[in-house]
């Protein structure tokens, strides 16, 4: 008797496990689960309830849009995205649930895998230009041309171009960042240094810092991507047209002008102007800067708030200037990074996603994130009174001195080239004497891509 009871009990336990496993396999969102539970409850308890009543219940339910992003660590934008969701929830009853991913490559692969499925995120952060292109080619992005047209007076044409392919626009830019040089005001003041206005002055600053035991510039190969920072700056400093042509595959990496730019970079490395490449841009660099052991860091304007301030570097210690070109003929140039949020074509709540994008493209909506991160809104009519003085000065300099704005290398060149090239730049940083080999390898990488097109 006891044995039969045990067998029956075990049988039920196993069946329960199998059933639970079966249900577990069907991944549902929180909203869907709630909806399913509500539907079941409605079916069992109220046979008399009408379809109209059910529909009424559903319309009162808040829509939750999923937004995947990779900025939940360094930098941490999660609270800012949450605020964006809170705002749209209050305004339209459409909430946004930001889902952070720990690393960029895991994030990219997850988004790419999800986009063609019913589990596609409604919204996701991404990168402009070439980083968007293959998603557009596969029809995975929802068009936002109408919204760009609606807000056409509020955005520059150059910005729109970075979001437009074959006459159609996708996503929107929730913020934009310039790439200046951040310098240590305390160190500069102690050594009687001023912001360099040309390359020779910049070299003098580096020499003085080095002679006083302070590392002039930060440079890192940790996390791979930072290796392109000096590369793009050196090529732009040689010639902005060369940079555009190189990014678009019209010039070879073994071109004499490219080599010349690399030679300038090599000279800086050999003179010992940079930190050890093992120095981490997000942990070691702000520490060294705060301890007055480092003079300058070339990075996006997001670095000010989310790295310097987040690592307790006093704001009064931080100054900024735009790196002069090493070739005076290159003129005044600065790199711009645009930050897109894209809408999936398979978004479960496509209409609502486009509604919030419309709002975030407006002057009011575009300022929400920018205000929190104290960064530049992309909408030209947005409020910018919250910007720290230093960022206002950078923007004024760019505008008043007619700086030529160039797209960041990460977005400006096709992704397969960029991803392989950053490792080659790292090789050059670690072994500057390998220049010829690196340039040859870069050419092979680029040729392989462009020949396949």
């Amino acid at each position: 008797m006891k044995l039969i009871f045990r067998k029956v009990f075990c049988l039920f336990a196993v069946l329960l496990f199998v059933l639970a496993f079966g249900f577990g396999c069907k991944k549902t969102t929180a909203a869907e689960t709630t909806a399913a539970a509500e539907t079941t409850a409605a079916e069992t308890t109220a046979a008399e309830s009408t379809t109209a009543e059910t529909a009424a219940t559903e319309t009162t339910k808040a829509v939750v849009l999923t937004m995947m992003h990779d900025k939940g660590g360094n930098p941490n934008f999660q609270p800012y995205y949450e605020l964006m969701g809170k705002t749209t929830k209050d305004l339209f009853g459409i909430d946004i649930e930001p889902v952070p991913y720990p690393t960029t490559d895991v994030f990219i692969s997850t988004v790419r895998a999800a986009l063609s499925t019913k589990e596609a995120p409604d919204l996701f952060t991404w990168w402009s230009t070439y980083r968007m292109k293959d998603l557009i080619d596969q029809g995975l992005l929802a068009e936002t041309t109408e919204l760009w047209d609606k807000h056409k007076d509020e955005y520059s044409q150059g910005l729109r171009d970075a979001f437009t392919f074959n006459g159609k626009s996708y996503g929107y830019s929730y913020t934009q960042e310039y790439w200046p040089v951040w310098y240590n005001k305390d160190v500069f003041s102690k050594l009687n240094l001023s912001e360099p206005t040309n390359w020779d002055e910049f070299i003098k600053v580096c020499d003085t810092l080095k002679a006083n035991g302070i590392t002039p510039m930060a440079q890192s190969v940790q996390a791979r991507w930072p290796s392109f920072i000096m590369f793009e700056q050196m090529i732009i400093g040689q010639s902005p047209d060369l940079y555009d042509d190189l990014s678009a595959g019209k010039v070879k990496y073994t071109d004499e002008k490219v080599k010349k730019a690399f030679e300038v970079w090599k000279d800086l490395i050999n003179k010992g102007y940079f930190t050890d490449p093992a120095t981490d841009l997000f942990t070691d660099t702000p520490t060294l800067f705060g301890q007055d052991k480092l003079g300058m860091v070339l990075c996006g304007t997001w670095y000010y708030e989310s790295v310097f301030v987040a690592n307790n570097v006093p704001e009064e210690k931080i100054g900024a200037f735009i790196l002069p070109s090493h070739n005076s003929e290159a003129g005044k140039c600065i790199v711009l990074e645009m930050s897109p949020i894209l809408v999936s074509q398979n978004a479960p709540h496509l209409e609502d996603a486009l509604k919030v994008v419309d709002y975030f493209m407006s002057a009011e909506g575009n300022a929400i994130f920018a205000k929190e991160n104290r960064s530049y809104p992309s909408n030209m009519k947005s409020d910018t009174s919250f910007l720290p003085e230093i960022k206002v000065e950078i923007a004024d300099t760019v505008k008043n001195e007619n700086y030529r704005i160039l797209n960041r290398y990460w977005e400006a060149t096709p992704t397969p080239i960029c991803e392989a090239a950053v490792d080659k730049f790292a090789e050059f940083i670690a072994k500057p004497d390998s220049l010829d080999k690196v340039l040859k390898d870069l050419d092979e990488i680029a040729n392989k891509y462009w020949e396949g097109k």
């Binding site: 050890d276 093992a278 120095t279």
Partner: protein, 292 residues
């Protein structure tokens, strides 16, 4: 009687069905899918294009794959020498010591920390500017070292972190093996005049063979598939110099979006691990049959 047998069999199958389902859904189907995709050129979002054995041919022409393979072999060799032999030595020397449990805990604690946490912690320790290791070197007026950038030092730096974490588990397994050896045999050897070394070599070590087989097979598999520690500490860099096969597979699949090529690397990696592990286990089993 027959009905009873059928019922018993049915219940047995029912009991193993959850585990079986899990293995089929989470292991076998993805495994076959992986082999299937290894014959395609696929970026993960467009339609896969069949390209026969091109991915496999490309593997053997790829210089970075060669470096990655060499690094993997280095990881395997290092793991067999330091974490495995080190674990055995610690187990032998700890046994019977006055504060045995305390020392065992000390060596075991690193294993309770996740690979990611271990990687972050060692990253800070290896930091050229703010790391404790370079600070100690500075006390002795030794120049700062770029532990994670200089090649091949970066791979050895990773291996030290790996050894720090892995040595504990091997020690515990060997301690289990040592405790299963009857004391009479070692005592008899001692009475016959064997010293500690001779007792270890001729009595203890041969009798540890079953557990040694387990430790070595585990070490082989773990070192072949090592990924998390490298990913956290160097991402296989700089310039792919510290990549192992698992890291290369990840990079090709998820960073470069070469799904087919990444799948082909994982097939090659699996074949190598299975062949070496199976070969080793087979040879050990043969020896055991001869021994007994």
């Amino acid at each position: 009687m027959k009905k009873n047998n059928f019922m018993n069999n049915f219940i047995s199958y029912l009991f193993i069905s959850p585990a079986f389902l899990l293995v089929v859904i989470l292991l076998l189907i993805p495994m076959f899918q992986n082999v299937y995709y290894s014959f395609f050129n696929w970026d993960g979002i467009s339609m896969p294009v069949f390209n026969g054995f091109k991915n496999y041919i490309a593997i053997f022409r790829d210089v970075d794959f060669r470096i990655s393979f060499q690094n993997t072999l280095l990881w395997v060799a290092f793991t067999l020498i330091f974490p495995v032999m080190g674990g055995l030595l610690i187990a032998v020397f700890l046994r019977g010591l006055k504060f045995e449990n305390f020392f065992k805990s000390i060596f075991y604690i690193p294993l309770t920390i996740s690979f990611v946490a271990t990687g972050i912690m060692w990253n800070y320790m290896y930091s050229r500017e703010i790391g404790v290791i370079n600070s100690i070197l500075e006390l002795f007026r030794i120049d700062k070292v770029s532990w994670l950038v200089n090649v091949p030092l970066n791979t050895f730096s990773l291996l030290i972190s790996w050894t720090w974490q892995q040595i504990g588990v091997n020690m515990v397994l060997f301690l289990m093996g040592l405790s299963s050896i009857p004391a009479e045999q070692t005592e008899a050897a001692m009475i016959e005049g064997a010293n500690r070394w001779q007792t270890f070599i001729h009595i203890i070590f041969p009798m540890l063979r079953p557990i040694t087989t387990v430790v070595i097979v585990m070490a082989l598999a773990n070192s072949f598939k090592v990924f998390d520690l490298i990913y956290v500490m160097t991402r296989g860099g700089p310039y792919r110099s510290s990549e192992t096969l698992a890291m290369t597979m990840f990079r090709e699949t998820f960073t470069m979006s070469n799904m087919g090529y990444g799948a082909a690397i994982s097939v090659v990696l699996s074949v190598i691990v299975i062949a070496i592990s199976a070969g080793y286990i087979k040879s050990m089993l043969k020896k055991d049959l001869l021994y007994y």
